[in-house]
Amino acid sequence: MTSIRARLLIALLSLVACASLLAGALTYRRVLAETSTLFDYQLRQMALSLRSQVSLAPRIELPPDQGDAEFVIQIWDLFGARVYLSRPGLPMINRAVLGYDNETLQGEVWRVYGLQTVDGVIQIAQPLRVRAALARTAALRVVIPLLLLLPLLGAAIAWVVRGSLMPLQRVAAEVQRRDAHSLAPIATVPMPLEIAPLIDALNRLLLRLQAAFATQQAFVADAAHELRSPLTAVRLQLQLLDRAPDQAARFQARAALGAAVERAIHLVEQLLTLARNEPRASDAELALVALDTCAADAIGDCHALAVARGIELSLDAQPGIMIHGDPDALRALVRNLVDNAVRYTPRGGAVRVRCSSTAEAALLEIIDSGPGIPAAERERAFDRFYRRASAPEEGSGLGLAIVKAIAERHGARVSLADAAGGGLHVSVNFPRRS
């Protein structure tokens, strides 16, 4: 875990330290350059003033300089003999150079200026060390106060950063208070520009979560409610079986009990299918699926029912239509549509399944010769547990809801229309992925 506070603190303090060091270095260089010019000028001035003295009284003995070694003066006569050395104890350059020059002597660099006079040569030398020391002192005078300020700066930065991060902490505390039962949006009291988008995003997420929880709760409530009917039937038949007065009644009650149990199982299976195909409920990989094979399998599932009801069931499929999908879900989709069609179509009717394909889409159609669904009811027909008043028998009321959920998972569109000869024409349009 990285702390923004620590990072800011370290980064800002290092920057300040670097800046002060840089300032020090620059000051050192500038002061060095300036003192060099100044001292060079001074050397020349000294030499010039000595020349006038020496020429006025050529043999005057100058007293040896007792001070520090900042300057060393040497004077030679015209014959090259040294007539004066200001610091006799020091090892000295034994060479007269005219103009400015740097000389190294016993590890020390000297700045030397030589001047030709009528009587000989005057030479003044100064160790460069003196200049460097001056520059160093100047530089330190700049750097040291800055470095001394560092802890103070650090505290100030910490304080500012803390204040700036305060809203973030408030948001964190607010988010912490949220759970499945209180998903209220976070108050958008004036927030810094940088945090406002985070809150917006969080609030959008909370709203989506709220909606998802509400849907889930409604689903569970609906499911529990819907399970009551088949369970009531099961309990009823079980009690009838217990109190059956004779063999015939017992036989009838047992058959009815079996049917009631089947109905409860069917409802639970349909609920599971629906739950599995709820948006983002499953992250099963979509594979390439042959639509015609899916349709054929689903028709196989419904075959017995169609035979029992005297419905002619047919498949007209263009072979090899491949779509991206979940094979089990697609089979459930076709099965629910065919099952509905078979149940609503009167005896002797026909249910046709067609699979076709164009460049843009794969198309699955189920056409029956039943009563159809009035246009006004078509929208509601997809609601879960919606049953038409004229339902021929107890269905789960989930068929079309499942179809819609599966279609949406596959990016497909389901539409209901009147069939050419009456009846219902269901189309499922799977757009090709670009």
């Binding site: 409610h225 009551r228 009917s229 088949p230 369970l231 009531t232 039937a233 099961v234 309990r235 009823l236 038949q237 009690q239 009838l240 109190r243 007065p245 009644a249 009838q252 009650a253 009815a256 049917a259 009631a260 109905r263 049953r387 008043a389 028998e393 107890e394």
Partner: protein, 219 residues
């Protein structure tokens, strides 16, 4: 005892009809709210078992209309709606009892008897008139303490007459109690049952009001 069963779930309706017939009730079944309202308009029932979530018209609406007409026929709501609000609403709309699915058949039977008892202004679970005692829960009839064996139809006729002693029931009214719609009724069936009841309970147990019908004399 004639019961109107209003239930849209075919499976539950069939099971309930079987159970109620076994208990000696005459049952008519309606699968939607509109035909239930029509049936309540056309015929008299001793009791109505009413589901709420019905196609065409909601059960509560049917109940309210019944009560608005001043019809006091006992109504028991049989529904999957188990919220407290729904129960209160149902009872306040005029229901005599409220049973939530999945229900227990024995409990439904007991509640039906209890509602019928109160509808006839009785507290005693047994109906006692003269020396005759009829227990609707056990369907046992006693005459002066000794059990009397009755056929289902005889029992039904006696029960109908005992509900309101002194009140005269016509042959048609008795037939209505005994048979639901579409049942074949022998023209002299009621006379046959009355005759056999008099033989078992004494000739004075049931009186005939010539040209009007039959009654059990009040004590």
């Amino acid at each position: 005892m004639r019961v109107l069963l209003v239930e849209d779930d075919r499976m539950i309706a069939q099971g309930l009809q079987t159970a109620l017939r076994q208990d000696g009730y005459t049952v008519d079944w309606m699968g939607d709210g509109r035909s239930a309202a029509a049936a309540l308009h056309a015929s008299r029932f001793d009791l109505v078992l009413l589901d709420l979530g019905l196609p065409e018209r909601d059960g509560l609406e049917v109940l309210r209309e019944l009560r608005r007409r001043g019809d006091a026929t006992p109504v028991i709501i049989l529904t999957a709606r188990d919220d407290m609000e729904d129960r209160i609403q149902g009872l306040d709309a005029g229901a005599d009892d409220y049973i939530v699915k999945p229900f227990d058949l024995d409990e439904v039977g007991a509640r039906m008897r209890s509602v019928l008892r109160r509808a006839n202004g009785r507290g005693d679970p047994c109906i006692r008139v003269g020396g005759i005692c009829l227990n609707p829960a056990t369907r046992v009839v006693e005459r002066d303490g000794a059990p009397v064996a009755l056929s289902a139809h005889e029992y039904a006729v006696l029960e109908a007459l005992l509900q309101r002693p002194g009140a005269i029931l016509s042959r048609t009214q008795l037939e209505d109690r005994l048979y639901g719609w579409g049942a074949q009724v022998e023209s002299n069936a009621i006379e046959v049952y009355i005759h056999s009841l008099r033989r078992k309970l004494g000739s004075e147990a049931i009186r005939t009001q010539r040209g009007v019908g039959y009654f059990v004399p009040k004590e």
